[in-house]
Every structure is written in C-alpha cells, then in structure tokens.
C-alpha cells in the first residue's frame, strides 16, 4: 500500500508479510573409519573450494601447569620444516597450492587445516600430514620459535583486554589450575617452555590418528585416500579428555582493578563460572544470554550503547567447553563513565536474573539464533567448524537441525528459569582494566563490592 505525502517521497507504509520459508538442510554428513582414524565429511556440491581439518585431542587443557601456551609453540614449530624438507621448501610447496596451514588450539582440541581449490586437496592434505606427523623439530628452531612466541605474546599483552581476561580467569578458576590461566599462556609461561616440552607434547598427542574433517564437493574427493594419508604412521588411540570440572558456587561480588595508566577507555570483563557445554540447559541458557547481551537489540547494548552512549558495544555470553564454562560480559567504556556503566551492567544482569525475559524479547532471540544457523552455515570453512562441534561434543549428524527446532520451541518460563538458575549477579567478579588513579574512588563509591588490585591487594578509597 502506497501513500503520497506532500512533498515527500512515496514510501510503502505497511511492513511486508513474511514469505514462505524453505527449510534449511545441513549438508549430508558422511562418517567413515579408515586406517585407525575417523573421517567426518560434508558434501557441498558445486563448490570450488574444499577444506580439510585434522582434529586432534591435544587442546590447551593437556598442557602442564606453568607451561601454558605450549601448544602454540608446538603449532609454530610444525611449520619449521619436516623430515623431508626445510621450512622454506615446505612453505613454498604448500603456498604454491594456495593455502597456508591454519593451526589453532582451544581448551579441548588442536586443529590443523588447509583450504584450497578442490583439485588440490590431496596434495594439500599430504603436506598437512607431513608437518603434523613428521616435523623436523630441530632444537635450534624450536627454541627460536619459542622466543618468537614470547615476543608475540608480549605484543599482544600490550593491548587492552588480555590482562583483564587473565585476572577474571584466575579469580574464577584459581591461578593454580590450568583453566584458571590464560588459554594461550602469557609471556612468562611460554618463556618456560623447553625443547623437551615441545617434543614430548608432539609425541604424546600429535601422533594419534585423530579425526579428519573434510568439506567440499565429495563427488570430486576420495575420502579413503585422504584419510590414508592423514593417518599414516599413527599409533596410539585417543585418551579421554577428563571429566566435568566441578562448578563451585561463586563467592562474594568484588571489583578487581587492573591498572592501565592514561587509558581513554576502561575495559570491562565481568563474569562467573557456568556449566559445561553438554549441560541440559544449554539452549535456554543461550537464549537468556542472547536477550541479556547476545544481539544488538539486547538489554545491555540497548541501555549502555543506544541510550547512554557509554560504549561502542557490549556483549554477554556463556562460553562453554567440554569440561567447564563461564558467563562473561565484555565491553570498553569511556574512562569518565566507568562507574555508571558498571552499575548499569550489573543492574541489567540483576533484572534478567530476577524478572526473566519477556515474550517479545524471546521471540527475537529465538528467531535470531535459529536463523543464524542457516545464515552462517554456507561456506566450507563454516561447515567444517560445525563438523568440529559434532566431533568435539559427540553430537549426531542431525544436531544442527535439532538445535534449530530447540531454539524455536523454547518457552518463556524455561528461558526465564535458566536466567534465574545460571546468572549470579551477586557473585560476579568485576574486572576493570583502566586508569586506576582516575577511576578507583568512583568504583569504590558504587558499592558494588570491595575494590582489589589485580595483584590481590585490597585497597580502599585513596
């Protein structure tokens, strides 16, 4: 329906109705066992690119205490040449196919991947396996990449954020626990890594077959041949990852101050411990966090960005791994409004815990989470990440379709109950990384909790 206003353009005033939905279908999943390892593949007909990922049970959770970041050093060392060729020859061979090695480690697994036009996939997987299974690990190279990693981490830790996150993690899980230390380690822990640590980690965890994920036009890919290449020469089987870590009830809310003199913004990391990924409340918890801080129109972003103008953005989420989880709110706010922003943020978490979510907010959260599954799961790399989720959390092939239905059918009482059960505003650790001399007194005056310095020293108003 159109209407003409004097002097203004013709706009259609009536919002259009929704058309007929076509169902999203996750690509067909193929599972095979070949040469002692598992293959999980997804068929994307017509795509020019293919992705292969070797997924190994060698996440940061395997690192010994005091050696946090070891897996990152191992990752870099894999690219320093193989028993067959030196590092330059290796780089030229792989990049000549159009890919580098993408290597990442999270708490659970270590992943090495290549992405190339489909006809180059066999050669790329051969080179991937060569680096993972037969790295040269020359002592001088290992020590050099270790030192380079220390420097790289020192560069990274000069940014706002890593120190705040480390302070939060240590407070939630204890600095004497692996999960209470930074995922990627810090400059000191990486500096402590030895040659034996690296060769030992490789021998213990990178010589097991693992799982090969393949995404692409499977009509043009020989999975058996790829798997035979990827699993050649492997021996031991995977060890279990370990049980769920006990979730300890959060203590009393307090503010931890990380000094960043002269900072024009304060970096906020507010959090508490939360359940692991396989917890039965995963869907309602995710929806509750979406209403609170997971989407642009969420409560936190609306109030603190769109109403107050304190920040460029603020978000809240539950992060889950196999063995543990945490709830975290992240933002950067202008220094002068640090205290009111913190009060507002805690207020919204309180409100969500106490009052739950509304039906209209939940409608947005449901549709968004479900719709994102189809919007995000297009490219081979994204499908490979989805396959990794299936493997890491032992989920069935139809998991993503099921998850969509669960999101769409979650009822308000269930989501509000999850907010009440899994948000603990009274037990939050409120980490603020900013100009302590400017913000300390205001933080103390909020009454949100005792203010302590990141070193653990209690300080009162100056």
């Amino acid at each position: 329906m159109s209407e003409q206003r004097d002097g203004s353009p013709v706009l259609v005033t009536e919002r259009p109705a929704t058309g007929t939905a076509r169902p999203y279908v996750f690509p067909p999943v193929v599972r095979q066992t070949v040469a002692g390892g598992n293959v999980v593949a997804a068929h994307l007909p017509g795509h020019n690119l293919a992705v292969a990922v070797l997924l190994l049970e060698a996440g940061a959770g395997r690192e010994p205490l005091g050696r946090e970041g070891l897996s990152g050093v191992v990752a870099k060392a894999l690219e320093e040449g193989t028993t067959r060729r030196d590092s330059t020859a290796y780089a030229l061979a792989l990049e000549g196919l159009g890919t580098g090695l993408a290597i990442s480690a999270d708490w659970d697994v270590f992943q090495v991947s290549v992405q190339v036009p489909v006809d180059r996939l066999p050669a790329a997987v051969e080179l991937l396996a060569e680096a993972v299974r037969t790295p040269r690990l020359d002592p001088a190279d290992v020590i050099r990449v270790r030192d380079d990693e220390v420097t790289a981490l020192r560069m990274y830790w000069a940014n706002p954020g890593p120190r705040a996150d480390a302070a939060l993690r240590a407070d939630l899980f204890g600095a004497d626990q692996r999960v209470g230390r930074p995922l990627d380690g810090d400059p000191e822990s990486v500096a402590a890594v030895t040659l034996d640590d690296v060769t030992g980690f490789h021998a213990d965890w990178l010589t097991r077959p693992g799982t090969l994920l393949v995404v692409g036009d499977l009509d043009r890919i020989d999975l058996d041949a790829l798997a035979t290449t990827a699993f050649a020469g492997t021996s031991a089987v995977a060890e279990p990852a370990g049980g769920i870590l006990p979730v300890q009830a959060p203590g009393e809310r307090r503010i931890i101050l990380v000094d960043r003199p002269g900072s024009v913004q304060s970096t906020l990391r507010l959090g508490h411990v939360a359940p692991h990924r396989a917890h039965p409340d995963y869907v309602p918890m995710t929806l509750a966090a979406t209403v609170l801080g997971g989407a642009f129109t969420s409560r936190l972003n609306h109030l603190i960005r769109e109403v107050r103008g304190y920040t460029y953005g603020i978000r809240a989420e539950f992060g889950h791994s196999r063995r543990f989880g945490r709830f975290v709110v992240s933002s950067g706010v202008q220094t002068a409004v640090t205290a009111p922003a913190l009060v507002d943020a805690v207020g919204e978490i309180n409100r969500t815990r106490d009052g739950g979510v509304t039906e209209s907010e939940l409608a947005v959260a449901r549709a968004w989470r479900a719709g994102q599954l189809s919007v995000e799961l297009q490219a081979p790399r994204a499908i490979a990440n989805a396959l990794a989720t299936l493997v890491v959390h032992d989920l069935p092939d139809d998991y993503h379709a099921t998850l969509r239905e669960q999101f769409l059918s979650a009822a308000e009482p269930e989501v509000s109950a999850a907010a009440a059960a899994h948000l603990h505003p009274q037990g939050l650790t409120l980490v603020v990384e900013g100009d302590a001399a400017v913000i300390r007194d205001e933080l103390a005056a909020t009454g949100l909790g005792e203010v302590v310095d990141a070193t653990g020293v209690v300080t009162g108003p100056a």
Binding site: L11, P16, G19, T88, E95, G96, R154, S374, A379, R381
Partner: protein
Amino acid sequence: MPETGYPWPIETTRLDNGLRVVVSEDRSAPVVAVNLWYDVGSRHEPNGQTGFAHLFEHLMFEGSVNVAKTEHMQLVQGSGGSLNATTNPDRTNYFETLPSEHLALALWLEADRMGGLVPALTQETLDNQREVVKNERRQRYENVPYGDAWLRLLPLLYPPGHPYHHATIGSMADLNAADLATFQAFHTTYYAPNNAVLTVVGDASPGEVFALAERYFGGLAPRPDIPAAPDGLVVPATGVPNRETVTADVPAPRVYLAHRTQPFGGSAYDTVTVLATLLGSGRGSRLYQRLADGARLAQPDSVSAFGVDLAYGPAPLIVTATARDGVPAEQLEAGLADVLTEVADGVTDAELDRAKALLTTAWWRQLASVDGRADILGRHTTQLGDPGRAGDRLPAWLAVTADQVTRLAAELLHPDDRVTLTYLPEKEVAA
C-alpha cells in the same frame, strides 16, 4: 585459467529513478543477501566535517518514517538475519543476510531509510550516536598500540585538499561540532536512488527482486544534482620522501613504508594486488623470507604487505614490519626498503605462481557466501559501472606477468616518493 571469476548468473535493471538493481540467483541455501552501496564516503566531506559520512551511517539504524527507533535491528535480527554497515573513503555500504522468506522485509527497511530518514532524525539520536562513534574512535584507534597508524599515513600520502587526506573516522573536534541540519542535508544530498546500487544474491529470482525493488524503491525521487567529490585521481609525484616518527606507548619499534599506486579497477592495480601478495602473504613471501626467516630483523607474525582497494585516487600499497628484540628501527626500515628496491630487479615465475595460487583461494573464499558475492557485485557496479566486471578480477590477476610486476615496481616504488611512518617505544624494552 578460468573463463570467469564469477560463474553465477547476473541480471540487472535500472528503475526509472536511477536505482541500479543487481541480482545473482543461487538456490543452494534458503538464504538471501541484500547489499546497498551508496556512492558517498569520507572523500565527499568538506573541511570541518570529517567523520560525518561514518557518523551518518550510524544514524541510518536509528529509525525512519515507518520504522521506530531500534526497530530496524530488531526486525532483521528477529528474522534471523545478520546486518551491518561500513564506511570508507570511497563509499558507504549497508547489508543484511537473512532467511529468504524475509527478503521483502529487508527491501522495505532499506527503502524506508533511503527515502524517509530525515523526518525521523532527532537531536537526541544524533547526540547519542556521536558519543557511540567517539567511543568507536577510542576503542579502535586511540586505546591500542599502533592503532592510529592509518590516521597518520593518509595525510602523509595525500596532500591537503585531496579527498583521501583525512581519515573516515574523523576528528573529535569535527564530531563534537556536528549539528542536526548538516546531517539532514547530508541525507537529502547523497541518499538518493540514483546514487545507489542494490544487490541481491541467493535464494531469489531476478523477476521477484525487480518487482519488489519497484514496489519499495520505485516511488523515491531521484536527485538530479548530486555533487561530486573533489577530483583526486592523480597525485603528482613529489620527488620528496615524506616521513613521520612517533614515540608512543608501544611494545616494539614498527615501520610502515607506503606508496601511492593506481586506482582500484584498472589493470595496473591488479598488478599491485599480485605484487602485494608476492611481497607479504605467507611464509614463502619475500618479506617473510628476507626479514623474518633470513636476516631476522622482524617479528615473524608482523610482516605484511597490502593494497588498500580505493578507486578514486592512487590507492596505497603499504608494507610493514615490527622489529625483533634489539633491532633498531633504522635497520628494520633499511631491510624493508631493500625488499622494495629489489622487486624492480625481477621476480621469478615461482614467486608469481605462489601469489596467484593464494589469490585464487582468497577469491573463492570471498565468493563462498552470498554476502561475499553481493559486496563484490555492488563494488563492481558502483565503481566500474558493470557487475559483470567482477568476473574479470581473478582472470586479470592470473594474467599478470613478471615483467609487469617489475616495471610497476620500478615506476611506483621509488624511494624519492615514499612515505615512512615509524613508531618508537617510549621506554627501552627489556631484551
């Protein structure tokens, strides 16, 4: 060599009001990408109004005649969609990807803010988004080490009065001075159907999209006299190197070398793209081999080379590296300069093939999603006049010869016409 870098159908039309509509159908997923390129960026901003094009982009999410404040985001996300917008010196783009049953909603929302923003724009909204943008500036440029490098490189590369002289984020002073009437005029001037390209890619037919475009955008009036940005196509070589040294709270010395090259879209710039990849992408690149692996002057993760794809002036080619412990900035700069100088002495076919293989993968990655395709088509329509030119890009990269690379390097990478930006730590870093 592939016949085309864009093996999907492309259909176009132009509405009577000048809006160009581009459709590329692909039914493989029930998802559709909607993308609008407006031919206005920070190059159009006069003195004293830096940052206005970008601040305006924020205002476009704050409601229009038939869409209440905050409703735009809520309706798109509440339909399962992703959305965002970006502003650069050349243009402003707005885009959403959503389940295809919501295509009409997306087009209605875009039309409403193209044709009906001004009556809904309030002082309160402007004041709020001004603060958000100032926080964006703090977060992205001021509060991170080396974060202001781009802000410093632009005025070194482009003289005062050149449309690329100032950065898109703008200055705090100009943002503070922004008044409502200026923004109302900005919309009236530039947000017209004949200054935009609407691209839809994915689960929709051209006929369906053309009909919806006519329905929602067809009644909007064109603007006959859209002012052009200042002409910046040619910047004469100065013959004088330009340099700046910044002492700041950074963890290690870092050096940027930058050159003005050629505008995005021409064959010379395709050569720049190949050259940048050859120089700076991957462990087999010249910079990595020479500075990180070889002479060990640079931190391995820090070396890079890239062209910034700007279309209305000589686009910059930037190479950068951060010093290893104990390496002085002068030594790192000399190493970087040597690498640039040596390109003019020749490159090997193997180096060229490596760069082309990496670019091939990068191209297909960009096109693997409907949103990536929509942005590429919108760019080629807006800047080169024809979405079909997108199909030329990959073949053009693959056709670049070693001779073209060395000749371009000899012409454009001369030290007399170089910009050098150096960061030095305030205090000595413990080795």
